[in-house]
Symmetry: C2
């Protein structure tokens, strides 16, 4: 287990409020990739007085602080995920919406090479695979 979100807030100078603590806790416990509405529903169960504006403000702040990462998958709302040391990409089941995380070093390397080829240094990338489950 790496640093908790609370520890990250401290080390990055992000003030810790009750609301932020709750949002951090919910995100840590979410292994899916909730959108803001879903996150709001989950935090509301812990503290019903939290407003959706605070949830929006907090995910944005956490994203800027490198605590969460934002995904904009096809045709939907922005979804968030805790950012850990291990980078990964996503394989999305187009039928069920299920998301599988994967890492492929070979692809990562090739991406860098492609950027180099055009005279760029890769600073970020987005790879999403959309698939249908095979009959087995």
């Amino acid at each position: 287990m790496s640093e908790t979100i609370e520890q990250k807030c401290l080390s990055k100078g992000v003030k810790l409020t009750d609301q932020r603590r709750i949002i951090a806790q919910v995100m840590s416990q979410s292994s899916d990739h909730p959108d803001v509405d879903e996150l709001y529903i989950r935090v509301s169960k812990i503290d019903p007085k939290i407003s959706i504006a605070t949830v929006y403000r907090t995910v944005k702040l956490f994203e800027e602080s490198g605590i969460l990462t934002k995904h904009e998958f096809k045709g939907g709302k922005a979804r968030y995920e805790e950012l850990n040391e291990g980078h990964h990409d996503h394989l999305i089941d187009v039928k069920s919406g299920e998301i599988i995380e994967f890492v492929d070093e070979e692809i990562e390397e090739l991406q860098k090479k492609v950027a180099e080829k055009y005279g760029y240094t890769l600073v970020d990338h987005k790879l999403e695979l959309y698939g249908v489950k095979k009959k087995s």
Copy 2:
């Protein structure tokens, strides 16, 4: 040169109106990846009476008909591009916003393999590289 957008409309049974013809023409002549606002500005120069609702309806229709393809790059509005036989991905200059199209067969292959590995058939994918230009 492959089929024109107008030809594609005919073969796909999409009714051709003046507005659609103009939008098709503008998209054909656009080598960048305009968003709806930008597209609206361009078509308005040809026919100022076209409404933005029609532009939205048309790009959606063209997308569903496989004539245009939609991109949702980071933190921006949806942008459209004419869909040709040649598939490609995008390398985006994070400073200037410039977009470079590229193809890398090796990456394409690896993507299929990754999907297979998890028991999926790849139906679509999205690969965007974000980079900064190297000093030369």
